[in-house]
């Protein structure tokens, strides 16, 4: 560090950038860890089926595996659009 550096504003603190990025990615990966690995494919196939009847958004399906007492519960929720644009569908409720 020389004389002129004293007057220059400090560059962005890369260590805190690294720590912040890691906090986020590590949290995400921990959440994904232990989940059955067929979930992404199941989600994709369900989306295809649902879209035969209702034109839902690709992000409209949410799948979780939760623990309830001894067993595990596959929780699936689909947000339906306001107005159905395709196919005659029996209006589904949000959750199964």
């Amino acid at each position: 560090m020389g004389l002129f550096d004293l007057f220059r504003s400090r560059p962005k603190n890369t260590a805190s950038v690294a720590a912040e990025r890691l906090r986020i990615i590590v949290m995400q990966e921990r959440a994904a860890n232990g989940r059955p690995d067929y979930l992404p494919m199941l989600r994709r196939e369900l989306l295809e089926v649902i879209r035969k009847y209702v034109n839902v958004d690709p992000d409209a399906i949410d799948i979780h595996v939760t623990h309830e007492g001894e067993g595990e519960v596959l929780e699936l929720s689909v947000a339906l659009p306001e107005k159905h644009t395709t196919a005659p569908a029996t209006p589904a409720t949000g959750e199964t």
Binding site: M1, G2, L6, A15, A19, L22, V26, E29, R30
Partner: protein, 270 residues
């Protein structure tokens, strides 16, 4: 009672073998009977770091496959009587290791009255690494204060919590410690390197020790003398502290503060 300790990290090049060698020497120097095993079949290096590469006759795979006895394969250290090295095979691959084979060797070491068995894991999460951690009672996760090393360490922590004998038996899991290596206090002070608190906070486990980035590590490996035997080097002293903590003693962290610069040095540059 034999304690099995795995030295692991996920990422390569962070200092697993350097750490295994120094921990083994440190524990043996305290009068404990120690075996250190190289699980990096096909890429053995522990023998070089320990300085016994010319004395390897039989290796870990030979023992597992019944081609020699464990006694024939254990190399007695020339410096410390209670220290023994089991080299990895250089010509086979990791498939030559089997869970039953590894268990047999560990059981025999237990029967022979070893106090500690240090398992030097290969990088990665494949067979060699998973077998190195499987039977562990304790894990030392070696991590550099750098993004890829920290992320890989978290992956390893996840595996330690699920893919080990202790986890499967519900025996309370493997006791986990972090060992930060290649730590550069000046860079941490400048905000160029994550500090101890950052790494500890992200990974959520206790820090057993902090080994400063040090020229002593290279000179020690050049000579085949584990760096802990170099009392003049900061890294050697930091390893000795870590071994003391592992043995239940309390030691303050050293070599973690930036070098203080004088007023003139700050003005005219370093």
């Amino acid at each position: 009672m034999t304690e099995i300790i795995v030295v692991t990290s996920g990422k390569g090049g962070v200092g697993k073998t350097t750490t295994s060698a120094s921990l083994a020497v440190g524990l043996a120097r305290r009068g404990k009977k120690v075996a250190v095993i190289d699980f990096d079949v096909g890429l053995r290096n522990l023998d070089l770091i320990m300085g016994c590469e010319r004395r390897v006759v039989y290796d870990f795979v030979n023992v597992i496959q019944g081609e020699c006895t464990l006694k024939q394969a254990l190399i007695k250290d020339k410096r410390i009587e209670t220290l023994h090295v089991l080299a990895a095979s250089q010509t086979r691959d990791k498939e030559a290791l089997s869970k039953e084979g590894v268990e047999r060797v560990l059981n025999e070491l237990t029967e022979d009255g070893f106090d500690y068995v240090i398992c030097d894991s290969p990088a990665g999460i494949e067979k060699g690494a998973s077998l190195a951690m499987y039977f562990a009672d304790r894990a030392i996760v070696v991590v550099n204060p750098e993004v890829s090393s920290v992320r890989d360490s978290d992956r390893i922590l996840g595996l330690l919590a699920s893919k080990t004998r202790r986890a499967e038996q519900g025996a309370g899991g493997v006791e986990q410690h972090l060992l930060l290596t290649r730590y550069n206090p000046d860079r941490v002070a400048n905000g160029d390197m994550m500090g101890i608190a950052d790494v500890k906070d992200i990974l959520g486990i206790e820090v057993l020790g902090v080994i400063p980035e040090s020229p002593g590590v290279l000179t020690a490996s050049n000579a085949g003398v584990p760096v802990i035997l170099d009392d003049t080097s900061d890294a050697g002293q930091a390893y000795a502290d870590a071994v003391a903590r592992l043995s239940g003693e309390e030691r303050p962290m050293r070599f973690i503060d930036a070098t203080k610069k004088g007023f003139l040095a700050r003005i005219f540059g370093s």
